[in-house]
């Protein structure tokens, strides 16, 4: 009985929200259309009269239920009395108009009170249509406010555009995702650390535990790829081997996710990627940590690590799907798309899908960090250029394309110089406009900014600011880790 009544209440609230959402979208559409018509016709024109009548109709409907109401923008969304309006195909244009126009006018919303009469409404429509905004938002707002008073418009009250409206509506959600990403990333590093140690000392590996952390990584990726991508861009860890494995895992999962792999396959892919270098635990530690370049003998040994990995896995595990899939990544991640590489195949063939994915992620991370096999560190554009140059020979061209698309040409974590004479760290790529990602501004001509001065700008919305080049953050003391909590 109690349950039923709670459900009834819940249902009622949902009903009210759904109603406001529908009315809100209708109102936004009609308001937008009325502004447009007012821009073309006089107030006594039938076309306008007809349009204004429709607008009054929806306003009356809303006033029937609500004495006063507010239509507002916040974090890229529109709200009617606090209920977020779900943009659909019909209302998308109108919403985009208000989301762009109102901040220019310095207003974040309008409150309409029940005393509103048609004359007042018409005055407001024609005033707003003819209003010429200046560059300064504050001045625009003040001008609108005072003019409305002069016109005797008392029942439509604008509210000032605030920083709060600019902050993402789901800032808390972002914060939570970032925190989750960080926690999961480091859990994964710990799991790899334990797994590698177990492999070395106890000759066993706990696939379930490995899979558990992989599934948590996938949960984060499904929610927000950038959060984990940012973690992979951190380059200063001491235990590079473990972090490299987690990075390869995250990058493989991002590629797999963008490719459309289902949960089960993603889960298996992640396990394979996380332990792709497990064979290295069977190599002499001196070789793995050798500071000098490898000689031919070193290489011969190093080239056996995929085979050592296979032998270790199959010795300690039974041949079930996860193990078999992981084995394919372990065995073939150094085999090129054209069958070259190592271990040498008796008969050349295209490696498995998982191995091809891990190969792309492994190469990208190794080249970006410059720690594996003591190569030099490359900047993201150099890595992408190098890999793109090898599409079809070393890498599956389609997978590489999906990968670069997912990462963006300026991957998250890339340090970029901007045409505004600022330096930023890419915090979110922009699939629709890859050249204009979201960037954290961390330095300007005067030097590094204080943390509280660091802010995020969306280059796709900031006209006139472009990326001019990619720079090596290390050279300029720009450490991504310092800015993780800024988004």
């Amino acid at each position: 009985m109690l349950n039923n009544s709670i459900n009834e209440l819940k249902d009622k609230n949902e009903l009210i929200e759904a109603l406001l959402d529908e009315q809100g979208r209708h109102l936004v559409n009609l308001l937008h259309a009325t502004f447009k018509v007012a821009g073309m016709y006089e107030a006594n024109n039938n076309r306008y009269i007809e349009q204004a009548s429709k607008l009054r109709g929806i306003l009356k409907q809303i006033f029937d239920d609500e004495a006063d109401f507010s239509l507002a923008i916040k974090g890229g969304y529109m709200y009617l009395n606090g209920v977020r309006l779900k943009a659909d195909r019909e209302s998308e244009v109108a919403m985009t108009y208000f989301l762009e126009r109102w901040p220019e006018l310095g207003i974040s919303g309008l409150t309409l009170t029940s005393g509103l009469d048609p004359r007042e409404l018409d005055k407001f429509i024609f005033f707003m249509t003819g209003f010429e905004s200046g560059e300064n938002r504050e001045e625009n707002y003040d001008a609108i406010k005072s003019r409305l008073i002069e016109l005797g418009i008392e029942n439509i009250i604008p509210s000032r555009y605030s920083q709060e409206a600019e902050e993402p509506e789901d800032a808390d959600k972002y914060r939570a995702i970032r925190a989750k990403a960080k926690k999961t990333f480091f859990s994964a590093v710990s799991v790899v650390h334990n797994t590698m140690n177990q492999a070395k000392s106890q000759n066993s590996v706990n696939i379930a535990k490995t899979k558990r952390v992989v599934q948590q990584l996938i949960d984060v990726i499904i929610e927000d790829e950038s959060a984990l991508m940012e973690m992979t861009a951190l380059r200063s860890f001491d235990d590079y081997t473990y972090v490299h494995s987690v990075n390869v895992c995250v990058l493989s999962l991002i590629l797999g996710h963008n490719l459309g792999l289902d949960r089960k396959r993603l889960s298996n892919l992640g396990v394979g990627a996380l332990i792709h270098d497990i064979g290295k635990t069977k190599l002499p530690i001196d070789l793995v940590n050798k500071p000098d370049s490898y000689d031919e003998y070193d290489w011969e040994l190093m080239r056996r690590h995929p085979i050592y990995g296979v032998k270790f896995l199959l010795k300690t595990r039974s041949v079930e799907e996860t193990t078999a899939r992981a084995t394919s990544a372990v065995y073939e991640h150094h085999i090129s798309y054209d069958g070259a590489g190592y271990p040498q195949l008796l008969k050349k063939r295209i490696p498995t899908l998982f191995a091809r994915i891990v190969a792309v992620a492994d190469t990208y991370n190794a080249m970006s960090s410059g720690r594996v096999y003591h190569r030099k560190k490359n900047l993201p554009d150099e890595v992408i250029t190098n890999m793109a140059n090898r599409a079809g020979s070393s890498f599956d061209p389609i997978l590489l394309k999906v990968f670069i698309n997912a990462l963006g040409i300026y991957p998250v974590g890339t340090v970029v110089a901007l045409s505004s004479n600022q330096v930023g760290i890419v915090t979110r790529s922009n699939p629709k406009d890859p050249e204009n990602p979201k960037v954290k501004i961390v330095a300007d001509e005067s030097g590094l900014l204080e943390l509280d001065q660091v802010k995020v700008i969306d280059l796709s919305k900031e006209s006139g600011i472009n990326v001019t080049r990619i720079i090596d953050g290390d050279k300029y003391n720009i450490n991504n880790a310092n800015y993780l909590d800024k988004f």
């Binding site: 009985m1 109690l2 349950n3 009834e8 859990s187 590093v189 710990s190 650390h193 334990n194 696939i207 379930a208 535990k209 899979k211 558990r212 952390v213 599934q215 860890f237 949960r263 089960k264 889960s267 296979v310 032998k311 039974s318 041949v319 079930e320 799907e321 193990t323 078999a324 899939r325 394919s328 008796l346 498995t352 899908l353 900047l379 992408i384 250029t385 793109a388 140059n389 389609i398 394309k401 670069i404 110089a417 004479n421 330096v423 890859p434 050249e435 330095a443 001509e445 005067s446 590094l448 204080e450 990326v467 001019t468 080049r469 990619i470 720079i471 090596d472 003391n477 450490n479 310092n482």
Partner: protein, 593 residues
Amino acid sequence: MPEMIQIDESDFIEIDEVQIRSVAEVFNQLIKTVKAKLVYPSSSKLPQQFMEKLNSDFTAVLGEMDKLKLKIETDAVLFSDQIIYRAKNKAENFAHPFFRDGIVELEFYKGLPFEELDRFVDILALVTRSAHVEDDLATLLWEIGFEKISYKLMDDSLDIETFEYGTSKIKTPLKSSGIDYRKMILENSELGLTEEDFNLDSDKNKARKLPAGYKNVPDNVADYIKRLTEYDDSEKSAIAEMLQADDNFKCKQYIIDILFEILGAEGDNASYNETLDLISKVRDDFIKAEDLRSAITIFKMTKELREALKTLGDEKEKRIEEFIKGFGASERIRILVDTLNNSKDINYSEVTEYLAMLSWEAVTPLIWALGELSHYPARRAVCQSLETVAADHVEVLGKGTENPRWYVVRNVVMILGRIASPQALNYFQRTITHSDIRVRKETIVSAARIDNEQSANFLIMALKDESESLQTLSLKELVRRKSEKAFVHVENMIEDKKFKNRPTDQIKEILEAYARLGGKQAFEQLKKMATRTILIPSEKEDRIKYYAVMALGCIFSPPAYQVLDKISKSRNKRLADAARRAINKRLREKEIA
């Protein structure tokens, strides 16, 4: 304003109790369904019936409460803080798989579809059946991505030995360290770029339309970067094909292929042996997992490899030869026996196919297996394979006749009979006198399969077996063979004083055999028996007379006919009737002949 709800507390508690009972029943049904899936073979209808009942129970409960939330403890399951399940003992603790894997809460929502519930039960059955699955309950449930079932994991379920990591460790002080940022920002020479590269509006860059940082790339890369965000139809279909191909990825075949690939590339003997040992281990894993098909594939590939290496005559060839023999080693057969005894769904034709590939060295372990196998189809598979494996090594198989277990001996005798090697008769000499009648019977049947004089002697020997049914069995076989040698032995049986005391069926069989084996030779004796006048005949004597008349019908000679004709007209109705039947039988057999 919403209507105020008046709650009568006593009603509320009552409803709760009813709900608790219903939920307990649902959980109980869940356990039963999981057990049914574990116990019955996949072909059985019972698990499906249990599933349907479970589904209807869930639908009923979720109809009442929208969401069913269960809390899991180490050995109990709770609903509304009331225990609805408590494990009876450690061995049968249904809460354990959940708790062990960190699942502390389960939620089922209204509209739970049958398919989702079915998959949930399948996963429970999987983790309950074997502790050796590589996943745990939580990872398996995650992979499904249920819509109407959710679960809560303990925060520390990963049980990670936390390693000292964190971004605080890698953060650095925000110091510019005297770097001239203005110079850095304004300088564009770092990547060897020219002024033109930096000028986004230059003619060259406009033509190439490449983003900053990608100006100096080769044309092929430039083209690649430019087309990055678009996927043409061929690329879209390539992605679809890629995923489709991956759907068809055969995990086990892949593992087998790469193991042989690695083996083929191994240079030194130590690595070669290590890989062979690994193949051996993988094969054993397949057998344990009831996947005989994959084990057969390994077997076949090993044999192919042996053929390929034959010409080399090196150490590797010898090693492969040993490896092949190892397939039939005792410890390997032991693994197979364990699998067969615990399996409910194994494909027995694959078992036969696998075993039939073994070399003769496996004969002794296979005989041992015959004594250990619990299920008839498994024993049959071993017997069938032994026919092939032991065909050229009857002497090894024959040793199985010394086995202390009568049923092993019987099976060995049967296989010897099917191989039908005359050599088998040496072993039948022992088994024909075996204390167990079933072994002796099998010996007769098997000996009958070997069509030679020596086997006839066996059958004659069996005429003296203490079991009358075995005597009859031998007799029939001797008749089938038309063994002339047997006639005199049958005659001895008839002349024996105790003959009249034999059971009716046997008297009938012996007399008929006597007639068929002896023909005219038997006529006089049978005529005498059939026409002998006894003043007050006993029932036993009457019986002999009757079947002697019937046996005369098996002698195709005019005198025999005349005697029967005469008897058929006699006043003794019973005998006359027997004679008529014998005549008819005789006619039928003649027609058939």
